[in-house]
């Protein structure tokens, strides 16, 4: 009896081993097909179009003319610079505000369950709806922010925050931080709750202060989550479209035009598909380079802090 069982088991294992591959690919194929048709093929097509002068009318191969024109345009480099500035500033703020928010929500105070729920609304409503609310608040005549600034005597007159270049840019940053903060906060909070209580107690017994424990225990322990949230929000912020589009459509005078907005205007609004595609390819290359560099960095961080 023992012999039979021992003989049968490997055979069955082997049969399954063999069909594992086929079965796995069968299971993945619907997802793969979707990505191939909706992401990979359009991506290849975008690259092809970027070498043409495609419009609604037709298309001719123009070589690297689109790229040459793009790289020779000082405005384009301004847009690239602005996009990275937009990304770095907004992501840093999201991480800082998220870290502060998560620490507050993690504090042992009565009412924390309610506070945690109250962080979520910006995350569960359509982004565009929240941004419409912000657009109202920024208006100069009867908007909340202008009104408050006047009330506190910070400005003499009404200010239309979206009408001047600098204030429009920073207003868009504030709104972007508002959209992104809840999710960052919740992920940080969850990570903080996963940190072993023993670590804190051991440090406390040794007389470590609250701030010291935060710096030397909390931060290192949640570092992997901080780093991956930073990458995700960097990509989202870089690609962020709705916020700027609804607030300013890239204006005034291009002050809030990021690469995505520029691409949309050229490709969709004015239907210059070839030139738009060249811009899209630049975005993909920039993001891919950035992400690879970042993942390499993430790997090092994980190794340094001992990935779980």
């Amino acid at each position: 009896m023992t012999l039979v069982a021992e003989g049968a088991a490997p055979e069955r294992m082997q049969r399954r081993e063999l069909s594992d591959r086929a079965f796995a690919w069968l299971l993945i194929s619907p997802a793969l097909l979707f990505i191939l048709v909706i992401v990979v093929w359009p991506l290849a097509e975008t690259i092809r179009l970027s070498f043409t002068d495609a419009t609604l009318g037709g298309e001719n191969f123009v070589g690297i003319a689109n790229y040459a024109a793009l790289f020779a345009d000082p405005k384009f480099w301004q847009t690239v610079g602005r996009t990275f500035y937009w990304m770095v500033l907004a992501v840093s703020l999201k991480l800082i505000v998220g870290l502060i928010g998560a620490s507050l929500l993690n504090a042992a105070i009565p009412g924390k369950a309610l506070f945690r729920v109250l962080v979520m609304p910006p995350w569960v409503i359509p982004v565009a709806i929240g941004v419409i609310g912000w657009k109202w608040m920024y208006n100069g005549y009867f908007g909340l922010i202008s009104g408050l600034l006047q009330e506190f005597g910070l400005v003499q007159d009404r200010v239309a925050l979206l009408a001047t270049k600098t204030s429009a840019f920073y207003s868009a940053i504030v709104t972007d931080v508002w959209v992104g903060t809840p999710m960052v906060t919740l992920f940080f909070l969850a990570a903080m709750q996963g940190v072993s209580k023993d670590l804190y107690e051991a440090a406390w017994v040794d007389g470590a202060s609250r701030w010291y424990r935060f710096r030397r225990i909390t931060i290192p322990q949640i570092m992997p989550v901080i780093v991956s949230m930073a990458l995700l929000s960097a990509i989202w912020t870089f690609n962020s479209f709705e916020i700027i589009w609804i607030l300013t459509e890239g204006g005034p005078r291009g002050a809030t035009t990021t690469l995505i907005i520029d691409t949309y205007k050229v490709a969709i609004s004015s239907q210059r598909f070839g030139e738009g595609a060249a811009r899209a390819v630049v975005i993909v290359v920039l993001l891919a380079t950035f992400s690879l560099f970042y993942l390499w960095f993430l790997n090092r961080v994980n190794r340094h802090y001992g990935a779980k």
């Binding site: 594992d20 079965f23 796995a24 069968l26 299971l27 993945i28 619907p30 997802a31 979707f34 990505i35 992401v39 093929w41 359009p42 991506l43 097509e45 975008t46 505000v97 042992a108 105070i109 945690r116 109250l118 962080v119 979520m120 609304p121 569960v124 359509p126 565009a128 709806i129 419409i132 609310g133 657009k135 109202w136 608040m137 009867f142 909340l144 009104g147 006047q150 903060t181 809840p182 919740l186 969850a190 996963g194 209580k197 406390w204 991956s228 989202w236 690609n239 479209f241 709705e242 609804i246 995505i260 691409t263 949309y264 490709a267 969709i268 595609a277 975005i283 993909v284 891919a288 992400s291």
Partner: protein
């Protein structure tokens, strides 16, 4: 027992929490305030926190100003729900493969899926537009559902995989030993056990689809009747005669149904979502 917060520290935490939540909730507070005031007063009076002209008039008038409001609300939920169903049908088997099976190019292909996260629809709009046009799907619900699905698949696989990994293997082994086929085991053993995880991932996909429908809607669809809420309301923004109080009333009414459902689910959702992230 670790040191507790002193009374003074507690007060400090409350004040800081209050300021933090004020930043998060300010637009909602302001939208509610605006929706409760007559437009003529909003436009003429200086800014004031409180006034005695609060009324619900805008919540009645909005149905006239935005005649399709009911449709918009329905469309938003319908599109997000369809995206969720299609995404889950595609994601469940894939996530199972990544959680349980060993096969060539496993980590490479998973990396490939995750790399899709780098793109948003905005980069691929031109060819997507052409794909949808050649399939005659422009100006249909599908034009807003299909791209939405594609960009939520990677996250869906990623989240669900970490759930399925936690289901004990022994149960599947037992089913095999009893002679069940692989597909039967997936359907009758794995999926029922994974229901809490499926709810979490499904809700996350729904929120993703619900929050991000604006771009595809304004680009691939110009039929008013099937426009989702954000795109439908955007039409009213930015004109001299925008009746902001009615717009805000419509926006708040529009997000209310999903907000309420979410309030019931939030506890499970947050725990589940972040569990996947932290484990990684």
């Amino acid at each position: 027992m670790i040191d507790r917060l002193t009374l003074l520290q507690k007060i400090g935490v409350y004040i800081a929490t209050f300021i933090f939540l004020l930043f998060i909730l300010m637009p909602f507070i302001e939208m509610i305030r605006v929706s409760l005031r007559p437009m003529s007063h909003l436009m003429t009076a200086d800014f004031s926190w409180w006034s005695d002209d609060f009324s619900l008039q805008a919540y009645r008038d909005m149905w006239v100003t935005v005649p399709l409001l009911g449709r918009y609300i329905f469309n938003s939920i319908f599109i997000a729900a369809s995206v969720t169903v299609v995404t889950m049908i595609v994601v469940i088997p894939a996530a199972y493969a990544y959680a349980r099976l060993e096969f060539p190019f496993k980590s490479l292909s998973l990396g490939g899926f995750l790399a899709v996260n780098m793109f948003t629809g905005a980069v691929l709009l031109i060819p997507l537009y052409r794909v949808l046009r050649s399939l005659s799907l422009l100006n249909t619900y599908w034009a807003m559902i299909i791209p939405g699905v594609a960009f939520l698949i990677p996250t869906g696989i990623w989240l669900l995989r970490s759930y399925l990994e936690k289901i004990p293997k022994e149960l599947e082994e037992a089913a095999y030993v009893d002679g069940a086929s692989r597909l039967y085991t997936l359907r009758r053993v794995v999926i029922p056990l994974a229901i809490p995880g499926l709810i979490v991932v499904g809700t996350a996909v729904f929120i993703g689809a619900y929050a991000q429908q604006f771009l595809f809607a304004i680009t691939f669809n110009n039929v008013r009747e099937i426009q989702p809420l954000p795109a439908g309301l955007f039409e009213f923004v930015g004109y001299q005669d925008t009746t902001w109080n009615e717009l805000m009333a419509a926006a708040l009414t529009g997000v209310l149904p999903v907000m309420l459902v979410f309030l019931f689910l939030q506890k499970y959702l947050v725990a589940g979502l972040t569990a996947g992230a932290v484990k990684e």
